[in-house]
């Protein structure tokens, strides 16, 4: 069973077949003739019956409505008269394009003309097709309701007795889903060849696995990974799920070309690049043409601006109620779900807007009662106006906090995962624009009035920054000046920051430690916080992974006494050619991998524990992608979680026993297997020997038929068997003297 996309439904299959044979010449010759040009015509029924002289008046009146959806003219409306010189109550209208005709049918059908008359608009072709007698059954036939089929439980994997995690592995042409079995080989769930064409992606809560094909996106789920939903976006290249798995955004560089007979896409989607889908219904909600993103602000214009894809083009608010898109330098459009209508009917005009980010969680600011979602955006310096970072409350579209900045060359917005802080990383240049420095301005969102804390400026450029998930600490990597084109990877420094201990998270952020002379460029926090991996990835010469513990339970360095962190390097691991680091959703394991998408040397993946103990190494040819299946948020309340943590010792005792038991069983199994294999081998040897002996007898050969010929005929050298003379020469230096002559 090759679950490739083309076999997904009858209709798809059909398309595939047609593509194989090129009968466009035949098509041109025969097909269109009968209906040529007719698809621009619509028939309007339900008009009042009028005499000839008031016909023009009616047409003019009608045109007002007709022109709202497309171009047509008075000449293009034909209202036939009968013998009595009265109109028949219908008219034919020709539009400029078939699209306009379709739009007319869509938008004008059922629209009241006045109190008594309601328009009925149909395509002329449809009337041709269905209007004739016999084309449509006279009798109503109830549509057959398909029998209800029990669907697979979409979260069945959460019920694993050992709370193991699943992962998807894409290598060569095959995609497989496996259970993580620690150091034992992973247990396969499904493994399918050609499961995807581009890549695979889990939905944010792990319910679906998405595969991407030229025909569209396919979602898989349930215990057997059966087909769940299908989103036929042709030549889709990028996809993005909304945070609660309600919607899906798909993008393709090629504008969509809608063909007649496509059941899901309509002319609405024609020429668009982006579709926002409703996952539940599988229908497109709205489609958009993508904005091209010019690279860099124009003021910096030394590099020719390149066309870049702005992705994710649509950014979702945490509650999935809003989705926003930025038109660079001009505005942010916020759409309301589930209708996808523009919030307040207009985009928010923000001159120069460069980037924005939603809060990843719904936050409640102190003293603010009504429900809101926050988003942060920034604008560069324009003329004499300073650069600005601002926070907007949605749906009110009120700016709740702004901060002006000077000498800004770039800004990055980093929300902490609970939305408690936004770190605004400001790259500043000096007046001469020669030297660069970075400022961190941290907005404390939860506190009254959203105070901003400025972390002392860093002389070097910050190349990476990451908040601790659900925590108050962060790690950043800085690099000094790099000579351009140098073959040596730039030296970097890793800095750890933590708040001062001052009751809760109230303290100011202070530098804990800086580790100099590293080459690291990636920061990977455990999803549960506390542990962080600082790694050198995508490098030709360095492959180190440092496993850090931020809450080491040992002695603390005196200088860091009043900081809410105790930093300790647990282990350093090397993984040749590492390109990606993926934490499992529970923060127990981490996988480092080297993907063939980046380079082709020693591809594969290694599994480590959170503390850096390598559990298994899996060199895999043509390894492409490793992704853990995310977990939905826990159902346990905070108190219950606390309880679990408190009683961890008791639980772990149980688990340790289980583990030991499992190991014992595995060991016995291995021993048993070896015993079996060995006895089979011995038996095989014995049997083989017997057969050989029989054959020798049959051929009348002596026992030693295989021994050297000459040895039998006339043995040479060492004739006397068993007595060999070994001549050994031993040299020994007895004395050594050195004399100076002359």
């Amino acid at each position: 069973m090759a679950p490739s996309f083309e076999q997904l439904s009858e209709q798809d299959l059909h398309e595939e077949e047609e593509e194989e044979i090129d009968f466009s010449d035949l098509k041109a010759q025969f097909e269109v003739k009968a209906d040529e040009g007719l698809d621009t015509f619509v028939v309007i029924d339900g008009l009042p019956v009028v005499p000839e002289d008031s016909r023009q008046k009616l047409i003019k009146f009608l045109l007002r409505k007709l022109s709202a959806v497309g171009h047509t003219s008075e000449d293009a409306v034909f209202m036939p008269l009968n013998d009595k010189g009265m109109s028949e109550g219908f008219a034919f209208v020709e539009y400029e394009t078939p699209e306009q005709a379709v739009a007319a049918v869509k938008q004008l059908h059922g629209v009241p003309l006045d109190k008594k008359h309601t328009l009925a608009v149909n395509k002329l072709m449809d009337i041709e097709r269905y209007g004739r007698e016999g084309r449509v059954d006279e009798e109503y036939q109830a549509p057959t309701v398909e029998q209800f089929k029990e669907k697979e439980h979409l979260r069945s994997w959460m019920g694993d007795a050992n709370a193991r995690d699943q992962f998807a592995l894409y290598r060569n042409d095959k995609v497989g889903v496996f259970w993580n079995n620690k150091s034992n080989p992973p247990e396969n769930v499904v493994d399918r060849a050609h499961w995807t064409q581009l890549f695979v992606q889990w939905s944010p809560k792990g319910t679906f696995l998405a595969s991407v094909h030229p025909q569209g996106v396919q979602l898989w789920g349930g215990s057997s990974f059966s087909k769940q939903k299908q989103f036929p976006h042709p030549f889709v290249q990028l996809i993005e799920f909304s945070p609660l798995e309600g919607y899906l955004t798909t993008w393709s560089a090629r504008p969509i070309q809608v063909e007649e007979g496509q059941p899901v896409l309509t002319f609405e989607e024609d020429g668009k690049n982006i579709i926002v889908w409703d996952i539940e219904s599988g229908k497109p909600l709205r489609s958009f043409v993508s904005h091209d993103l010019a690279a860099g602000p124009a003021a910096e214009g030394d590099v020719a601006p390149k066309k870049k894809v702005q992705w994710p083009a649509f950014k979702w608010s945490a509650d999935e109620k809003y989705v926003a898109r930025m038109l660079q330098g001009q505005s942010i459009s916020i759409y309301e779900l589930p209708k996808m209508n523009l919030l307040g009917r207009t985009s928010v005009k923000i001159e120069g807007v460069n980037d924005f980010e939603w809060s990843p969680a719904t936050v409640s600011r102190e003293g603010v009662k009504q429900y809101e979602q926050l988003l942060c955006f920034w604008t560069p310096e324009i003329g004499s106006n300073p650069a600005r970072v601002a926070m907007m409350s949605v749906p009110s579209k009120e700016i709740v906090r702004t901060r002006n900045l000077f000498n800004v060359s770039d800004v990055k917005l980093h929300w902490q995962s609970q939305g408690a802080y936004v770190c605004v990383k400001v790259d500043r240049h000096s007046k001469s624009k020669k030297s660069m420095a970075t400022n961190l301005e941290i907005f404390r969102v939860r506190e009254k009035g959203v105070p901003v804390e400025v972390v002392d400026s860093l002389k070097d450029t910050v190349i990476n920054f990451a908040w601790e998930p659900n925590g108050h600490r962060f790690v950043l990597i800085t690099t000094g000046e790099t000579p351009t084109g140098a073959a040596v990877p730039p030296k970097t420094a890793v800095s750890f920051f933590a708040p001062e201990k001052k009751g809760g998270a109230g303290g100011n952020f202070k530098l804990v430690r800086t580790i100099e002379k590293k080459t690291s460029n990636g920061i990977y926090w455990s999803p549960k916080g506390r542990f962080v991996i600082v790694a050198t990835v995508h490098s030709q010469s360095n492959f180190d992974l440092d496993f850090w513990d931020m809450d080491f339970e040992g002695e603390k360095v005196e200088a860091e006494k009043d900081l809410a962190a105790n930093l300790q390097l647990m282990k350093t691991v090397e993984h040749y050619g590492v390109t990606d680091v993926e934490w499992d959703p529970t923060g127990r394991y981490v996988v480092t991998s080297a993907s063939v998408w980046t380079h082709s040397m020693e591809n594969g993946w290694n599994l480590h524990t959170f503390s850096g103990n390598t559990l298994s190494e899996n060199p895999t040819e043509k390894f492409k992608q490793f992704i853990w299946r995310p977990r939905p948020p826990t159902f346990l309340s905070k108190e219950e979680q606390k309880q679990v943590r408190k009683n961890l010792r008791e639980y772990s005792k149980e688990f340790d026993e289980e583990d030991k038991f499992a190991v014992d069983i595995a060991n016995t199994a291995v021993v048993e297997k070896r015993k079996r294999v060995l006895s089979e081998w011995v038996a095989w040897l014995r049997r083989e020997k017997e057969i050989q002996a029989e054959e020798k007898d049959a051929f009348g050969l002596p026992e030693d038929a295989d021994s050297p010929k000459q040895a039998r005929d006339a043995p040479i050298g060492g004739e006397e068997q068993g007595e060999t003379v070994v001549e050994e020469m031993v040299e020994e230096i007895i004395e050594e003297t050195e004399e100076v002559i002359g």
Binding site: Y576, M601, E602, P619, V671, R674, K675, V677, L678, W681, V682, W684, L685, E688, K689, I691, Q692, E695, K696, F699, L701, A705, D706, S707, P708, K709, Q710, A711, D713, A714, P715, I716
Partner: protein
């Protein structure tokens, strides 16, 4: 396990062979020279000169009287081991890639290359040991007793089964064939390795009832000589050039490495130029021996199982005499078996 490094060749090694007593080691390389070494201390005994092209293959007669070599100069030469003189030259239309004496030494097979309109063949030559006093060794038949032509895929390696009952050949397409050495009839052909992944070596167990293949598909397989059943599979992560079965201990040694032409594109740590030891019965990898800085082209084990030698693309031969721990190592299961 301190190796003895033999640096007598100027180009990459193609094959090495211990004699039946294990006191001598013969090595051939692409530099036209055939070397004989004392295996105990690595001293060179002498060379056999005469080939005009790269020497692809070497074999010693079971009684260590004659040495056969096959070369890219389209000849098989027979040498008097003791005197170093060439006693016979057979001419072939193409290069000779493998020679092998039958278990009793009375016959020699030669695998010829497919080239210039000639199909690959396996020729069987009768060998005459003269009067037993090293006289009359040059009286050899000029024509092969038998010629087997490989119509489908050329043979790359070949050897003799027990009692010289079959000729077993490994092919370029990854299959293994069984021929009747009397009639030349192909008795069986089994696609053992992945299709189109050449078999680079075939070596037999001491009793010749089973043999080991090494293939470009990165695996070695243990096959029964009688019915070509796959008994064991040893997967590795690199193309294999050679594989050998150790007597005395139940191991196999595999050697290979990134193909020579690909090596420049990768760093040395990636070449995987190690000899790998697997347990013959349990198929587990037990250990690796590093040292070569090019792929391993050929491996041979001392007939008594006390040493092994490897020849590499780097031009060196390394003889390793096994330590005590090598002989002591045993699986718990095996130990139990011993006690019984």
């Amino acid at each position: 396990m301190r190796p003895i490094l033999l640096s007598g060749h100027e180009r990459s090694l193609t094959q090495i062979r211990f004699n039946r007593d294990g006191d001598l080691l013969f090595s051939v390389a692409k530099d036209k020279i055939v070397c004989a070494w004392w295996s105990a201390n690595g001293e060179r005994l002498g060379t056999y000169n005469g080939h005009q092209g790269a020497v692809w293959t070497v074999d010693v007669s079971p009684n260590t009287v004659l040495l056969a070599t096959g070369s890219a100069d389209n000849t098989v030469r027979l040498w008097n081991i003791k005197t170093g003189e060439c006693v016979k030259v057979w001419d072939f239309p193409t290069a000779v890639k493998r020679v092998a004496f039958s278990p009793d030494g009375s016959q020699l097979l030669a695998v010829t290359e497919k080239r210039m309109g000639f199909l690959g063949t396996i020729a069987v030559l009768d060998i005459n040991y003269g009067d037993g006093q090293l006289g009359g060794l040059d009286q050899q038949a000029d024509e092969p007793a038998l010629r087997i032509t490989c119509n489908d895929s050329k043979a790359t390696v070949a050897g003799w089964s027990f009692l010289a009952k079959y000729i077993i050949a490994g092919h370029e397409d990854g299959s293994v064939s069984q021929y009747d050495p009397k009639s030349g009839e192909q008795l069986a052909n089994v696609q053992v390795h992945e299709f189109d992944h050449q078999i680079n070596d075939i070596q037999f167990s001491p009793d010749r009832t089973y043999f080991l293949t090494a293939s470009k598909d990165k695996s070695a397989k243990l096959l029964s000589a009688r019915d070509l059943n796959i008994l064991k599979t040893y997967p590795s992560d690199t193309p294999l050039n050679s594989a050998s079965i150790t007597p005395k201990k139940e191991y196999v040694i595999l050697g290979g490495g990134q193909a020579a032409m690909d090596v420049t594109t990768t760093s040395a740590r990636q070449g995987k130029f190690e000899a790998r030891f697997y347990h013959k019965v349990f198929e587990d990898e037990i250990g690796r021996v590093r040292g070569h800085f090019g792929p391993l082209n050929t491996i041979d084990v001392h007939p008594a199982g006390t040493a092994y030698a490897s020849g590499g693309e780097d031009g060196y031969v390394r003889i390793h005499h096994f330590d005590k721990s090598y002989f002591d190592f045993m699986y718990e299961v095996e130990r139990e078996q011993m006690r019984k």
